[in-house]
């Protein structure tokens, strides 16, 4: 358990808490973004190997022995994808929020009861 993964899990919990307790739709979206960031931190921390350098072959890394000198490149690649998708999802959610405000002039989640049971 590293500090980074601990912070990542803490952020996930904070974001979940925010999503469940806030009433304002914008704040719920912010809670989602915090969860997103926490997951990214956890994923990056999984690929980290102590004492190694970034997965880029340059003067600091010997090309022949790269496998023993670099951190795992795959989690970095996955997180890059996840960040872009997260951005797209956040933009789309904010657009929904704008659209909902246009319909009802309200951003309070309690005013939208259609999907409630």
């Amino acid at each position: 358990m590293s500090l980074v993964s601990f912070i990542g899990f803490a952020l996930i919990l904070v974001g979940l808490w925010g999503m469940l307790t806030r009433k304002n739709i914008i704040r719920i979206i912010i809670g989602f973004s915090i969860i997103d960031t926490g997951i990214h931190l956890v994923m990056v921390s999984i690929g980290y190997l102590p004492g190694r350098t970034a997965p880029i072959i340059n003067s600091a890394v010997d090309k022949a022995q790269a496998a023993s000198q670099i951190v795992d490149p795959i989690p970095s690649a996955l997180v890059l994808t996840a960040i872009v998708i997260g951005l797209a999802i956040t933009a789309l959610m904010l657009t929904y929020a704008v659209r909902m405000y246009r319909e009802r002039t309200s951003l309070n989640i309690d005013d939208y009861k259609e999907l409630k049971w």
């Binding site: 601990f6 496998a67 890059l80 797209a88 933009a91 657009t95 246009r102």
Partner: protein, 242 residues
């Protein structure tokens, strides 16, 4: 009160669920087999110094194509949801609007200074994606932030939607076209060895990776600019557009 109680229970249960996972994350001593294979064979096979880039653009190129597609669909969704029909009545319609205030001297001059630099930096990031940290997505976001600065600084600035959609569609088309060329000329879809690999570590190396990343950068940059432009449209401007 009871709702708060249930919320606390939910969060605690979730914490309990992820706790074993958190404990098990021990720092690895060695790379996972796949990563080790990428690290050993990647540089000679693909010629890219940045292994993250070789994973994203070539080894996992199809995933990246899917990622670009997701971004495209999200952009289309934003544009679709924020469009305005003529009969739509929005809150605040009919209220006389103040004319937008011109940007302050600081913002105006700052954007004039920063805009070309940001554009150049964005292009630099995606052209050097195979050598240094960075790539198409990062470069595209920097370009979009330059455009955002321009939109903030100039009230009257209008995006040229023809150029934006032309650049976006063409870069998407050529991205797939290069992928198909890989099927014909090299080992598979999105294979970067359709061009000579060049000298390792120089700008013109790694086959088609710089070209693919440039296309991705242009596509992401124009898409995000489009999102920003759609979200920025004020009521008066939308009325002018309709």
């Amino acid at each position: 009160m009871i709702k708060k109680f249930f919320t606390i229970i939910t969060v605690l249960l979730f914490a309990l669920m992820v706790l074993p996972l958190l404990r098990q994350i021990a720092p690895f001593e060695e790379l996972a087999p796949v990563a080790a294979a990428y690290a050993e064979q990647g540089p000679d096979q693909l010629g890219a110094a940045n292994l993250v880039t070789s994973v994203i653009v070539t080894y996992r190129g199809l995933d990246t194509l899917g990622e670009v597609t997701v971004l495209f669909i999200a952009t289309a969704g934003v544009g679709f949801l924020l469009r305005r029909d003529e009969e739509d009545q929005l809150p605040g319609d009919g209220v006389p609007r103040e004319t937008p205030r011109e940007a302050s001297e600081l913002l105006g001059s700052g954007s004039m200074l920063l805009f070309p630099l940001l554009m150049l930096f964005g292009v630099y990031i995606f052209l050097h994606g195979h050598l240094t940290p960075g790539g198409g997505f990062q470069g595209g976001v920097v370009i979009a932030s330059a455009m955002l600065l321009l939109m903030l600084a100039r009230v009257s600035f209008h995006l040229n939607h023809l150029i934006i959609s032309l650049v976006e569609s063409l870069s998407g088309f050529f991205y797939v076209a290069i992928g198909v060329l890989g099927l014909i000329l090299a080992a598979g879809f999105l294979d970067n060895r359709i061009l000579p690999l060049g000298e390792f570590g120089t700008l013109l190396s790694a086959g088609a990776i710089p070209i693919i990343y440039s296309l991705v950068g242009l596509k992401v940059g124009t898409e995000l600019t489009n999102v920003l432009g759609t979200m920025r449209l004020t009521r008066t401007q939308q009325e002018e557009d309709v």
